[in-house]
Symmetry: C2
Subunit: 218 residues, 2 copies
Amino acid sequence: MLFYLEAIWQDGSVYPTVSEPKQDRSRATRDRLLEAAVASLAESGWARTTVATVAARAGVSRGAAQHHFPTRGDLVTAAIRYMSEVRLGELRGTVVAPPAGSNRTRWALDQIVGLYTGTLFSAALHVWTEAAVDAELRAQVVPLERALAREAYRLAVALLEVDAGDPHVRTVVAGTLDLARGLGLANVLSDDTRRRSRILDAWADQLDLVLARPTPKP
Amino acid sequence: MLFYLEAIWQDGSVYPTVSEPKQDRSRATRDRLLEAAVASLAESGWARTTVATVAARAGVSRGAAQHHFPTRGDLVTAAIRYMSEVRLGELRGTVVAPPAGSNRTRWALDQIVGLYTGTLFSAALHVWTEAAVDAELRAQVVPLERALAREAYRLAVALLEVDAGDPHVRTVVAGTLDLARGLGLANVLSDDTRRRSRILDAWADQLDLVLARPTPKP
């Protein structure tokens, strides 16, 4: 009650804002766990990423970690969701400021493929692969995967500056995301940067060609 | 020595063919282990696929299994190699007998994508994903992955009936395999058949368009 009154005194609010510092700490702990979970999945894989190992990595007590995330499924799906939001948010920032002088399509492809070639994709791959053989985890992962696929699609439409009202364009953008996912998978065991660059050069030419032509009528 | 003489007597050969029945049994045991390993990986994932669990599944003693495959890495890489050879062999058979009346490109795409949507791809995904965080396994998997990628590429060139002497064509075929891999990954958690069919329809049109035009000059 003392803290509550102090809070009113400090900012004139009638809301119990004094509890915010505790919420901030709790939020910071949560975010640290989520970042540690993604790093652990990418480095060590599913089997060696548990609530306990992630808590240790984040410097958080196991009890506190389990308060936030009762199961490993809760932790890893929240982690992929959180880090994806961060990553998509960064990319949305780039959409409003494309570089001058470069090929728009080729640049957009680099941004899109970047979603599938970093730590986050590696982490997600371990979770998706485990979910393929674990029905309980799959029930948590499928809605997340769908939400992320929708977000990636919207981002690709914005980056490529195409008209998503055209069904043919929608299919071509979706195929671009499938290609990006395949390129991501090819990059998991060894650095595929040079080969990928050639594929994306050809794909950019192809997209310019295909998106410029009128929609084929059935 | 008795068996050796009997062998000469039976087929007139001077080679110790009498040992062949034993080799046949050994080969049959090996193949049964390899088939069981792929099925186990696809159904249960890496953690629950060991030399012991695969031996039990194949109805082979653990000792016999370990005689053939001392480590899990030996077993799973041999399994992916063997089943890929079987699958690629089947597909090579289809190349010489394409169906009459259907769109050649669209049909070829279905064959190619079939490599990335079945049990074998699911099994390989579990091994590749584990190899991403296990350097010893990665050393066994990378040469296998490269060999399979080369085989898949050769098969795609034959199925699509394109001129692999043209560098632009080579890149487009490689990109088609990347797209197929991405479509395979999209199919891991839920049945993606309908969406994939639309993507492949558009991709077939696009390939016909792109492969018909002359190679862009730099």
